[in-house]
Amino acid sequence: MQRAIVAFLCLLFGPLAATPSGAQETPTAFTGARILTAAGETIENGVLLVHEGKIQAVGDTASMTLPRDIEHVDASGKVIIPGLVDTHSHVGIGGRPAVQANADVNERTDPVTPQLRALDAIWPADPGIRMAQAGGITTANIMPGSGNVVGGQTAYVKMRGDTVDDMLIDGSLGGLKMANGENAKRNYGSRDKAPMTRMAEAALARDLFVRAQEYRERWQAWEDGERQGDPPARDLALEPVVEVLEGKRIVQHHTHRADDIASVMRLARDFGFRVVIQHGTEAYKLAPELAAADIPVSFIIVDSIGGKHEVMDYRLDAARIMHDAGVNVALHTDDWINSSRFLLREAALAVRYGLDRDEALRTLTINAAEMLDLADQVGSLEPGKDADFVVLSGDPFSVYTRVEQTWIEGEKVFDRADPEDLRYATGGFAVAERYPSTNDAGEQQ
């Protein structure tokens, strides 16, 4: 009897709900879609089964047996891809509008600030987060800026939640943001402070790592001495660097020119730490060396050359060159440099300039997840992973394709059919009723 009531209620409420916004309790099957899992072949007519925030199953419609008593969402004609992973974003700390009050990206008072944590500055109500949802981004690495040689601890977050605690990914440590090249030396050199030259940038970095090594040795000695006597004094700046030395925290290093990239590789080799090259404008010139050293590159598609000397040799086909040489390549927004609404566009332009389409999707998903040590949890549509996915109106690499829905852990966070969400996709979210509405005939008023 109870089952019949439940079934009746499902029948009653199922078809009335356009799409359930949460799939937490009842398993939900998204059916009839073209599914790009980023973990193998494309599924032309597929089913994605989601339950309690995880992917339960994904596969070909013909070969999937679905349980009874589940919700169905007809996704025929749509394309489903994994939620996008942005390895380099300043959303939340570079809030919109970009006034001083919202500018928390660059602590220009000291070039070495590993003690700073992006999580202490993230503003969950930044419209940029909803704009990122509108672009299909579900996971991001929110980082301090490149104005410092060591900017601070980054935050690996899901793009949802009212508090930063809701956003932070459980168990993740975040990275350590570092930078070399023009930005730091312009930032400080222009004020007659160190660093003025690349020499000083590298010296500041080496000095930090040596001090961290010594700090670690002091603590190790105290541990080895069975904790006799007072422990060494804590140093909040050195602790995250020790985590880097111990392989627990990845250095996310902003760098452009080939010699600056080589400096990063040297530092990583000398002190033995894991690093992701961020931007890597000239990384294509060092692709074989980067591949041999197993150093991944998170690249950015910018629309033109120029802006500063260190990016003058920028090439739009660099992602293809690096991939062909065996480098693990991701693509990121560096929001606000590029808008989080247009991360898919970056991969499309990479395809324009020669990158294989399947690989292009991986640059936004599984490759990026690997660079954040999150590949077990996100980055592809596989059973057991978080139910982070995006429903597209068509080919991910077409200018005409819309992000229709974005889901994080089985909850819908963006729906283009919702008039409020739509304004985060088009712009005009602060304009409310003054935004021209479309009448029934689809004509603008």
């Binding site: 919109r96 006034v99 050359i305 120029g306 500063k308 808008s339 499309a348 077409s398």
Partner: protein, 401 residues
Amino acid sequence: MNIRLLTMLVLALAALTANAQTLVIRAGTVYTAGPDGVINDAVVVVEDGKISAVGPANRVRVPGNATELQAAVVTPGLIDARTTVGLSGAFNVPADQDHEETTDPNTAHLRALDGYNPADPLVAYVRSLGVTTVQASPGEGNPVAGQAGVFKTAGRTVDDAALVPVSAMVFNLGEAPKDAWREKDRAPYTRMAVAAIIRQALDGAQQPVPSDAPPDLKRQALEPVVDGALPAIFTAHREDDIATALRLCREFKLRCRIAYATEGYLARERLAEAGVPVIVGPALQRLENLQTYNASLENAALLDAAGIPIVFGTHHESYVPKNRVMLWEIAVAVANGLDPQRAIRAATIDAAKLLGVDKRIGSLERGKDADLVLYDGDPFEYTSHVTHVIVNGEVVSDTPR
């Protein structure tokens, strides 16, 4: 006649015509932007730097000895109706930044002509993606910024490239002039002062000049503006700045154009009523300042639907990327409601008419300059390419981009 002289004459004539190759372009679709409209299975013939024929393949006589090119789609060369490219150089260091003369808030006498660098890497870059003509403009920091000029993106010197050496007077409202001058502790700090400085300059140009007055290049530069002979472009993002621009244009009877009109979709009725053309901002305009906070991807489509004449401009980028790609900006506008054929006309013939150069460029019609762009697919699709760019009948770019 002396045989030697004759030989020299023949050689001289050959040298003159050496660069004028004959091109035959076969295309799946040609958007002429002219009275012939859209032609499928078309042929365009280029001779001596001009379009000599355009029409269906089975109706156009194709000369022999021509270089043949194939394309899926052909459009006229794209016209960027307001940009600092050529003045704001690629390296972004003081040595190559020549768009911003913030030493005086009124620099009406400055001419883009005197700062435009045809050899800047960004000129070749935008050309490779289909822009064959630009209206190069002073920057956005001065309320009265100076004189724009219309240049082709080919030509070794600006004099070779210039179509209209002085094409418009540029005025700037909104946050940019306030930011530029507040940091120098000089007026303008407020929008009131920005407008006052502009009014003072325009008013001065309307006053009779005493016969013993020393020459005043700034006033001389503004005289054709208040006479209505030289167009006036006003940078305005926010709705109230658009209103200020319209008010100033009415007061001084200017030939008004609005640059960006980021909140134009909110002011569309007033803009339509005023009949003022808009050089829209890039669709990918960042939502960053208070004045761009309400930028919409649909702005171009909404303005067009309201009957406002629109053309496209990439305007100015201060950092990375150092310039926007007009074709890619238009693509996003088309994907957000702007009719594609309308978009092509806005980027070509409508811009040519607005800049007063439509006798020479803007459409693929017999006798006009051979400025064309060849594509291997839908020009607006992310994964299509510009395969060739032709200016004055010469292939200036043939790497697929």
